[in-house]
């Protein structure tokens, strides 16, 4: 198995952090754009770029409520996104097993 087995949409540092952070929420929960930005420590531009990529793959869903200064954008992991992250985690574990002798992983 090679790194090609890892989903390229997720296998980027910022998007991986985004996916893991959103996966920490229970099913049915959303996180506001500003809180997510605060937690991931990305500029708004970078965050939007990565969210658009994840949204394009169907892994996250964004919803905007209100308008003007009261506008709030919420972000949530979709069911497909959660499944994709599970698949990514499994593939990553198998790759780690292959590169690290048993018992040396932390």
């Amino acid at each position: 198995m090679s790194e090609d087995a890892l989903d390229p949409v997720i296998h980027a540092p910022a998007r991986l952090r985004l996916m893991v952070t959103l996966a920490a929420l229970p099913d049915g929960d959303t996180l506001s754009f500003t809180r997510l930005q605060d937690m991931i420590r990305l500029t708004p531009g970078n965050l939007i770029t990565h969210l658009r990529k994840l949204e394009g793959a169907g892994y996250v869903q964004t919803d905007k409520t209100g308008s003007g200064v009261n506008a709030v954008t919420s972000v949530a992991l979709t069911r497909d996104g959660r499944t994709a992250l599970d698949r990514y985690t499994t593939a990553l574990r198998q790759l780690l097993d292959a590169v690290e002798p048993a018992g040396q992983q932390d």
Binding site: A12, P13, V20, T21, A24, L25, T43, N46, T49, T89
Partner: protein, 232 residues
């Protein structure tokens, strides 16, 4: 030009500054990441998210342990020499109210810090949970003058005023398990109900000491143990 999360973005979805100039973007495809890096990022991001999104329970347990150990303790001190029992003294009631208000403020601040920006099902459950508790407590405080009006003795009013808020808190915690599936909260709720139900046997004076110790000590222990384990 449109807005996402209060930030102006151009047609390509890039964030723009006041002049409409596209802001920076990370060329993440060019950022190589091997499997060890990915595993480290997952661990770090998962732990960071857990810390950020979890309410700091040790501080909440400890603040409520103060309410029961100190507040209920002072109530007991204010009534222990009353023969026959009349009612807790004003200064003790005032201190208990202040301590409870402080614990409530700590609980609200820490909960708000962890759940700020979190919406959806959990936010709705939280609102229903707090509303249930508030409605229940308002109900028991309305009942007290009703009981008095119906001819209940001072002893009965004394036992009721000490134990009924605990009964409501216990029932709300137990019922909340249906939504949260948190068995620690269920166990705590059952304990609160048991203490509220049995403490009345100590009478209108002893009930304050029994509840103060039976609830305050476990709360303090849970706070210390959670803190020692580094758990939130």
């Amino acid at each position: 030009m449109r807005e996402v999360g209060g930030t102006a973005v151009d047609q390509d979805g890039r964030a723009t500054d006041e002049d409409g100039t596209a802001m920076d973007e990370e060329p993440d495809e060019a950022t190589r990441m091997d499997v060890r890096d990915a595993a480290a990022i997952m661990r770090e991001a998962g732990e960071h998210a857990r810390l950020e999104l979890t309410v700091n329970r040790p501080a909440i347990f400890m603040s409520w342990s103060l309410v029961y150990l100190l507040g209920y303790g002072l109530m007991w001190l204010s009534v222990r020499d009353q023969h026959p029992y009349t009612a807790p003294q004003g200064w003790a009631i005032a201190l208990l109210v202040v301590l409870a208000a402080m614990a409530l403020a700590v609980t609200a601040a820490l909960t708000d810090r962890a759940t700020s920006g979190v919406g959806g099902t959990s936010a709705m459950r939280r609102r229903v949970y707090w509303l249930s508790l508030a409605v229940g407590l308002i109900g028991v405080y309305i009942m007290q003058p009703m009981l008095s009006h119906a001819g209940a003795s001072r002893d009965v009013i004394g036992v009721f005023s000490a134990s009924s808020p605990l009964l409501i808190a216990g029932v709300v915690l137990v019922a909340g398990t249906a939504a949260w599936l948190n068995w620690y909260a269920f166990g705590l709720g059952v304990w609160l109900i048991a203490v509220a139900a049995c403490s009345g046997f100590a009478g209108p004076v002893g009930v304050w000491a029994v509840i103060g110790l039976a609830v305050g000590v476990p709360f303090l222990a849970m706070g210390v143990v959670s803190l020692a384990r580094g758990r939130r």
